[in-house]
């Protein structure tokens, strides 16, 4: 029994320490961490290659090594669930540094066969645009306004979170 308490206690303490390091990392290097996101975030015409360069360039001069290394790693960010008239839409982004490498749909409108059909064509287009633009400044797909709107909302929230 004593051993069980010891094991759980040290697990909790260990996790608390790990989490607090992750949190303090931001406070120490909040502004520089956001810097690399600016070129790729604002330049909607930036090609993926350019964005990758930006990530590489940002990693080199970074003073706060630990946080930068963490931020430059691969990670996934989940967007907020956007409620549309046709149901919830939610995206998950996979990022390498500031660059979006993959968009996964966690939730998509589910409002009967028509809605599904619309999504089936609209979502690949939206994802392609996102990967090219590397931002949420993308055009809605005509004929799929609900889906597009929800997608862009969720995408924006994910990017806000990723680049905070």
């Amino acid at each position: 029994m004593r051993r069980a308490i010891l094991a759980l206690g040290s697990t909790i303490a260990g996790i608390a320490v790990l989490l607090s390091f992750k949190t303090h990392g931001i406070a120490a290097a909040g502004t520089p961490a956001a810097a690399p996101s600016t070129p790729s975030g604002s330049g909607s015409s930036a090609a993926p290659a350019g964005a990758a360069d930006a990530a590489g360039a940002a990693a080199t001069p970074s003073p706060a090594g630990r946080t930068e290394a963490g931020a430059a790693g691969r990670r996934t960010v989940t967007g907020r669930v956007a409620q549309t008239a046709r149901g919830p839409v939610q995206v998950e982004l996979t990022l390498a540094g500031p660059r979006i490498t993959k968009v996964t749909m966690l939730q998509r409108t589910d409002d009967g066969p028509l809605s599904n059909q619309i999504d089936a064509t609209a979502i690949p287009k939206l994802i392609n645009e996102t990967l090219t633009a590397q931002s949420a400044h993308i055009d809605a797909v005509s004929g799929a306004s609900y889906t597009s709107e929800g997608y862009i909302q969720s995408l924006q929230s994910a990017l806000d979170k990723a680049r905070a």
């Binding site: 996790i15 790990l18 949190t23 963490g70 931020a71 691969r74 990670r75 996964t104």
Partner: protein, 461 residues
């Protein structure tokens, strides 16, 4: 009937303390496990962006626990994979204790992982926890399967808990444990489908899969292939039975070239008798005599369905044997020896007693065997033990009678010291039921035997 028991003990007695093959030191094994934990945490660290709020904190904790659990189940299976270095260096009974402790820990962690992830997502996406739980189950890939897996693991954990365990037959418990393999398989895919550390990193997915595949291969090799190969090479079969005492029977197992197994006195095999109703389960029984190149002997007390059925085995029945296992073997030491056996715990002690070296000079005296039983009729091997003792100038003391009748526990420090000259300078080996083992160990400690010289094995699954 066979006369294995009356073989002169000096014949080919293996060198004490020379169990063939490498023994993994327990400290090293724990260090390797800890290094794995560090690796898992590094994985989380690298793939986690800075934390920005309560939702992230909760999710972060949940992810760490999830990774630890994914790693932990593999470690737990590996501990039970019958890896020879582990079996030799740590011993089956300690491995089983580690496995049980680790199992309780991992099940707790899995529960916390599920709760924290659900709660964390609920906070991040401003949902109610119940709503978020529904979303996770229905919309996230493979989470439903993983939840079923968690339920299975929890069930296995519950039936293994001490209270429930006592009311279950060994057989039932043993079979329920197979569900852990199913659970691990079910939970595997949700790690890659949702795990932030794996979703976009092929190298990490490869490494993680390799870990799982390696352990699966080890289990398959040591728990399935090796016993079959052994059967092919040694052709184990039941040679005969001999009742030793009420409810206690010796099984003689014949085979070819058994010396190649390098079995040591004090070790055990996991036996699987290929007879109707018995072939699907294997049980650990100690060798109760020094192994001969053509014959081994085990001695079993009836206390479960399986050990009852043993008494009805027919000669010629084929046997699969996994082993030899066990670190409860005579240490490489020139010290005098005291052996303490309780009840059917005499079986490995009987084999060790026959392998004791001649007394090393007058300084330490010959080996002393103390055999505790609650009733004189429960004493087995009396004739063999007396013969061995006579041939090597060793002493045997039979302590019978229940504690109530005697008014005191005969395994007290004072009693032991009176029976065994120079007790505190000896190596001590204790084998018996858990309660008796504990009593004997504390008596030995009180009599001045240092802990490192007390070796023990409990007869408990």
């Amino acid at each position: 009937m066979q006369t294995l028991s009356s073989q002169p003990a000096a014949r080919a007695a293996p060198h004490p303390g020379r169990v063939a093959g490498w023994r993994a030191p327990p400290g090293l094994v724990l260090a390797v496990i800890a290094a794995g934990v560090a690796g898992v945490i590094a994985l989380w660290w690298r793939d986690t962006p800075p934390i920005t709020g309560l939702g992230d904190e909760l999710t972060g904790a949940g992810r760490i626990l999830g990774l630890l659990a994914g790693y932990g189940v593999v470690v737990l299976v590996a501990l039970m994979a019958r890896l020879p270095p582990l079996e030799r260096g740590i011993g089956a009974s300690r491995l089983a204790r580690w496995h049980a402790m680790g199992g309780r820990y991992i099940i707790t962690i899995i529960g916390a992982h599920a709760v924290l992830i659900t709660w964390g997502y609920a906070v991040t996406f401003h949902q109610r926890v119940s709503t978020e739980a529904g979303t996770l189950l229905t919309s996230y890939p493979d989470v439903l399967m993983a939840t079923v897996a968690a339920g299975l693991l929890l069930g296995v954990g519950l039936v293994s808990a001490r209270l429930v365990r006592r009311r279950l037959a060994y057989e039932t418990w043993y079979h329920l444990h197979f569900y852990t393999y199913l659970a691990i398989a079910l939970a595997f895919s949700h790690q890659f489908a949702n795990g932030a550390s794996f979703v976009d990193s092929l190298p990490d997915r490869v490494a993680w899969s390799a870990l799982y595949a390696t352990v699966a291969a080890l289990v398959l090799w040591y728990r399935v292939v090796t016993p079959l190969r052994r059967l092919g090479r040694h052709r184990f079969r039941v040679a005969g039975l001999r009742p030793e005492a009420p409810g206690i029977v010796s099984v003689y197992i014949a085979g070819d070239r058994l010396e190649k197994l390098h079995a040591e006195p004090g070790q055990f095999f996991r036996w699987r008798f290929l007879a109707r109703g018995m072939w699907w389960q294997s049980h650990p029984y100690s060798l109760s005599a020094l192994p001969r190149p053509d014959m081994m002997r085990i001695t079993v007390k009836a206390r479960g369905d399986h050990s009852d059925a043993l008494a009805r085995l027919r000669p010629g029945t084929r046997v699969l044997a996994e082993g030899p296992f066990g670190a409860f073997t005579p240490a490489r030491s020139r010290r005098g020896v005291v052996l303490i056996a309780g009840g059917v715990g005499i079986t490995p002690i009987r084999a060790m007693f026959a392998a004791m070296p001649e007394p090393a000079g007058r300084r330490f005296g010959a080996a002393t065997l103390i055999y505790r039983a609650s009733h004189p009729r429960d004493i087995v091997f009396r004739r063999e033990l007396d013969q061995i003792a006579a041939s090597r100038g060793a002493a045997v003391h039979y302590l019978t009678g229940s504690r109530d009748q005697l008014g005191t526990d005969p395994l007290s420090a004072r009693n032991l010291a009176a029976l065994v000259p120079g007790l505190h300078r000896r190596q001590a080996y204790v084998c018996g039921p858990p309660g008796m083992t504990e009593t004997a160990i504390s008596a030995l400690r009180a009599a001045g035997v240092p802990r490192r010289r007390i070796h023990h094995e409990s007869f408990d699954f």
